[in-house]
């Protein structure tokens, strides 16, 4: 089981971002108040959650590195108090270049954070500016150096490709610069346009010079090649890692594992029941202040939906899944649960022809939603 902690504040909002993130309030103490509220939510979590050990903790945001090591330590302490946290659990914190210094990195290490996911996004100054990000490529390099100096042995970088005005070669160059830093893990995301963002609005008006789909695909393929050269292999649609360095936390999502989310808008999944907290920080603070629940909505998946989701999530993984695993999990063969589907996908060249396994071909991975659609009710 995993724990996700959402820290919703950012110094600024990037042009492409529609995550549940808000500008850091001016009021002194806003971060401390949020950290206290999250600790309270953890303390009040229903007892029935106390199943299974926590094998991974992930601080996402927002920009969690805006919070002080003491605030992070406080939340971790609450988690250890409430749950059994496995020795050697993966504890990841998302951070942005320019928000870190040697002292805070030391503090995070001491608090128990052992993995950093650094939002590099691009190594082109011009592109970073266009994304609305305030840091420089040099600050990203510096962040990696400082993290190593502080003893972090497990580092991941995020990059985005398919950006406005970007060629596949530009994207490749960014990825190569990231890989040159000797990181263990790279997440390379194709840009997604979200409605309620500046990019979304510009794109709707036709004012965003987006590269054509063919070039985005080529950029992704070039990045995969560069990763392979650097010893990082793809294990999921957007994720590459050195052997044994896959993100355990992300794997929980893809394997339909259980995780409990804390903080504004955090999502939880416990054995087929998915629920989520209120998104707005103010509302979240009010609800938790009285010791109340922050849950806003939930859904319990029908067995059929759960099965379809299982297939979809595993198809995101490079290894796919074995027919035997499906049959074990659902008590019947895949071809009986979805007659004719696998055959059609094989015929269209979207699934690889491999005995006993279901996994997308490279083309199938680019068209994953076409592959997954017939499995979703």
């Amino acid at each position: 089981m995993g724990a996700y902690v959402h820290l919703p504040y950012c110094p600024y909002k990037c042009h492409y971002c529609d995550f549940n993130a808000y500008r850091l309030p001016r009021a002194e103490g806003a971060r401390a108040e949020m950290a206290r509220a999250i600790a309270r939510e953890i303390e009040a979590a229903p007892g029935k959650d106390r199943q299974g050990r926590i094998a991974s903790i992930f601080f996402g945001g927002g920009t969690p590195s805006l919070f002080s090591p003491q605030e992070i330590a406080r939340i971790l302490a609450a988690l250890r108090e409430r749950y059994e946290v496995a020795r050697g659990a993966e504890v990841t914190l998302e951070c942005n270049p320019g928000t870190l210094d040697p002292a805070s990195l030391q503090g995070l290490r001491a608090a128990g954070v052992n993995r950093l996911s650094i939002g590099a996004q691009s190594f082109s100054q011009e592109t970073l500016r266009r994304l609305g990000r305030l840091h420089t490529p040099e600050e990203t390099r510096q962040a990696v150096r400082m993290a190593r100096a502080a003893g972090f042995a497990n580092l991941s970088l995020d990059v985005i490709y398919g950006l406005p005005g970007e060629t596949p070669e530009d994207a490749l160059k960014s990825a190569q610069e990231a890989l040159a830093l000797g990181i263990e893990h790279l997440s390379a995301y194709a840009l997604e346009l979200e409605e309620k963002t500046l990019f979304g609005a510009l794109a709707a008006r036709g004012e965003l010079p987006l590269p054509p789909e063919e070039e985005v695909v080529r950029a992704g393929d070039l990045i995969e090649g560069a990763c392979a050269q650097a010893g990082l292999t793809r294990y999921e649609v957007s994720n590459f890692a050195r052997p044994g360095r896959q993100s355990r936390h992300n794997m929980l999502y893809w394997l339909q594992g259980s995780y409990r989310g804390f903080g504004p808008g955090a999502h939880s999944h416990l054995f087929g029941r998915r629920f989520w907290n209120v998104s707005a920080p103010g509302e979240y603070l009010r609800r938790t202040a009285g010791g109340g629940e922050a849950v806003e909505g939930e859904e319990t998946l029908s067995p059929q939906a759960r099965m379809g989701e299982w297939v979809y999530l595993r198809l995101r993984l490079a290894e796919g899944f074995s027919l035997a695993a499906f049959a074990r999990r659902f008590g019947r063969p895949l071809d009986a649960a979805y007659p004719g589907v696998r055959e059609a996908l094989l015929r269209d060249g979207l699934l690889a022809r491999e005995r006993g396994w279901v996994r997308p071909t490279p083309r199938g991975r680019w068209l994953l939603h076409r592959v997954a659609a017939p499995f979703l009710a």
């Binding site: 996700y4 959402h6 989310g261 955090a266 999530l313 680019w366 068209l367």
Partner: protein
């Protein structure tokens, strides 16, 4: 006053929006047929009914009891007429039930195409015309200009009544004019019964309810009647007048207007325009002017899900109970499977039927582009009427193809004559005449192929004349044209449901336009899909729908799988509305691309 001398049957004719319904409401109110208090409620109710019944209650008859200042009492029957060119035959039957007409003209807009068309129809039926210049309360009202226009179209300008139905002015004068000027009916009271059916609707309790005008003799409750067009005999089970709620009576006398029911099961058996006579002592001749409803526009209706074929047939049968003009026959399309070729009076009629099928019967439809009926002369003398372009057999050798024409009347300010003529030329119109009823208005008459004006002609006319032009048309027979069928190929396979017939000269440009439109509306597939337009195997145009390369969400943020799955499910929902043609998924709008190619 007694008998027919006390009866006046009249209708209101007007261009759309010139205030016909408001005037009708005022007349009902002024004669106390409904107290002002009841007005809102009752009249609205009947409008709801009308909406529910869609197009079938196209005309309504209301009996008004009017008492003049001298105490004499009159029975005024107000017969409403439908307002859309699709229903011009129904208009003519309503007019045939009257002796007079109020011709309502907007004091600001003046005479419009429909005003004229309705006037000519009324004059053909020898009706007494009472011009009513309405909306004189408007600041832009110019009654003097309208009077001059009346003179131009051959009416006595001094005979016009000035009114504002909205404010209730002129209503008394109108009622007086109806009594004074509309002649009373003068049918033979002792003659055999002859009553004109000018409307009918289906009622699930009483069967078909016919709206009739008794021309000669009398219609009695319990009487045996015969419908002259079909020859079928019935017994009158229910009879009365609308005031405006149905009010039972035991007879309708000569000259009267009302309704009857006789356990008639289908509106087809009691058609508008038919003559009701007595079963025992039948009239020798029916009343003149009957003609069966003839569908003008045909389209294929296919259920999106093949399993709903039977449901679609049942739904069409039910709609037909109440809609004599709707026709349908089973049809098979190579592309769409089993469906029906349906005939409609016009596009409005088609849209109403489509909407009712989707809304009331919950059937998702694929509707092919509407087509007119072509008459094809094959070599060797065979002649066929073709309602579906796919039925054309070029390989049999075609000598000639004829298409239906209409005579269109367009009225527009003189400054827009140029654009109007240009539009009519583009649509292969043949110029006939131009008249100037007043210095700033022109009346243009054109012969136009029905197929050219069926879809967007009226919209184009409006947009090119900034909304000032008005249009009316009547069928003017078939004429030969140099026509060819354009076939559309998707992924190399001809799709019969996408074929269309055009003039040979327009085939290349129309073919290109259809290919472009299809490229826009057909979503990208897993492979390149060529779209071609061809005439007789010769390709005129080609487009390619490029293969989809990427369809995957990059991120799953913070474990929010729900949102991701919902996105995928939505995508899938969208696909349900698609039709699979061979390997290609095609949305419903693709079938209309043939029509909207000009957009």
């Amino acid at each position: 006053m007694k008998g027919q001398q006390a009866i006046r049957n009249f209708c209101i004719i007007a261009h759309i929006d010139h205030g016909k319904s408001t005037l009708a409401d005022r007349l009902i109110e002024a004669t106390g047929t409904l107290a002002a208090r009841e007005m809102q409620e009752q009249v609205l109710d009947s409008m709801d009914l009308e909406r529910e019944r869609g197009i079938t209650i196209k005309a309504q008859a209301v009996r008004l009891d009017y008492v003049r200042a001298d105490g004499s009492r009159y029975e005024l029957n107000l017969i409403d007429t439908p307002g859309h060119v699709d229903f011009s035959y129904e208009v003519s039957r309503s007019l045939a039930a009257c002796e007079g007409a109020l011709l309502v003209i907007d004091a600001a807009q003046g005479v419009e195409a429909q005003t004229l068309a309705n006037l000519y129809l009324a004059l053909e039926h020898d009706l007494e015309i009472i011009p009513v210049i309405n909306k004189i309360d408007l600041p832009q009202a110019d009654p003097d200009r309208v009077r001059r226009e009346l003179e131009q179209i051959g009416l006595d300008p001094d005979s016009a009544v000035l009114a504002s139905a909205k404010e209730g002015t002129g209503i008394g004068e109108i009622l007086e004019a109806v009594v004074e000027r509309v002649p009373p009916p003068s049918g033979e009271e002792e003659a055999a019964l002859r009553a004109l059916i000018f409307d009918s609707h289906f009622d699930s309790y009483r069967g078909v309810v016919c709206h009739v005008r008794v021309v000669e003799g009398a219609l009695r409750l319990g009487g045996r009647i015969r419908l002259m067009a079909t020859g079928a005999a019935y017994e009158v089970t229910d009879l009365g007048t609308f005031r405006p709620a149905p009010t039972a009576a035991d007879r309708l006398a000569t000259g009267e207007v009302g309704y009857f029911a006789a356990a008639i099961k289908n509106v087809r058996d009691a058609r508008v325009g038919d003559t009701v006579t007595s079963a025992e002592r039948g009239a020798g001749e029916p009343l003149p002017g009957y003609r069966p409803a003839v569908p003008m526009v045909f389209a294929g209706l296919y259920p999106s899900e093949p399993s709903k074929y039977d449901l679609l047939r049942e739904a069409l049968e039910r709609l037909q109970l109440n809609d004599a003009a709707l026709s349908f026959e089973p049809e098979t399309s190579g592309a769409l499977g089993f469906g029906f070729r349906c005939g409609f009076l016009g596009l409005l009629h088609l849209e109403i039927v489509q909407e009712r099928l989707e809304r009331e019967y919950d059937i998702d439809l694929v509707v092919t582009a509407p087509s007119v009926v072509y008459t094809v002369h094959y070599q060797g003398g065979a002649v066929e009427r073709i309602e579906n372009p796919a039925a054309l057999r070029p390989e049999r050798g075609i000598e000639a193809i004829e298409e239906p024409y209409v005579e269109a009347t367009v009225i527009a300010p003189t400054s827009f004559v140029g654009p109007v003529m240009e539009l009519c030329q583009e649509r292969r119109g043949q110029f006939k005449t131009i008249d100037y009823p007043s210095p700033d208005r022109a009346v243009l008459s054109y012969l136009l192929p029905l197929g050219e004006i069926m879809y967007d002609f009226f919209d184009q006319l409006k947009s090119r004349t900034r909304g000032y032009a008005s249009l009316d048309y009547q069928l003017a027979g078939d004429r030969p044209g140099d026509l060819v069928r354009v076939d559309v190929l998707l992924n190399g396979e001809a799709v019969d449901a996408l074929s269309f017939i055009v003039h040979r000269d327009e085939a290349p440009s129309q073919g290109r336009a259809v290919c472009e439109k299809l490229r826009e509306v057909i979503p990208r597939q897993l492979f390149d899909v060529p779209v071609q337009a061809a005439v007789g195997g010769r390709v005129l145009a080609r487009e390619t729908i490029r293969a989809l390369r990427k369809d995957v969400l990059a991120k799953c943020y913070g474990g929010d799988i729900t949102r991701k799955r919902k996105l995928l499910e939505k995508q899938k929902e969208g696909k349900k509305r698609m039709r699979r043609l061979g390997q290609v998924e095609v949305p419903q709008e693709a079938f209309m691309a043939v029509l909207r190619r000009g957009d």
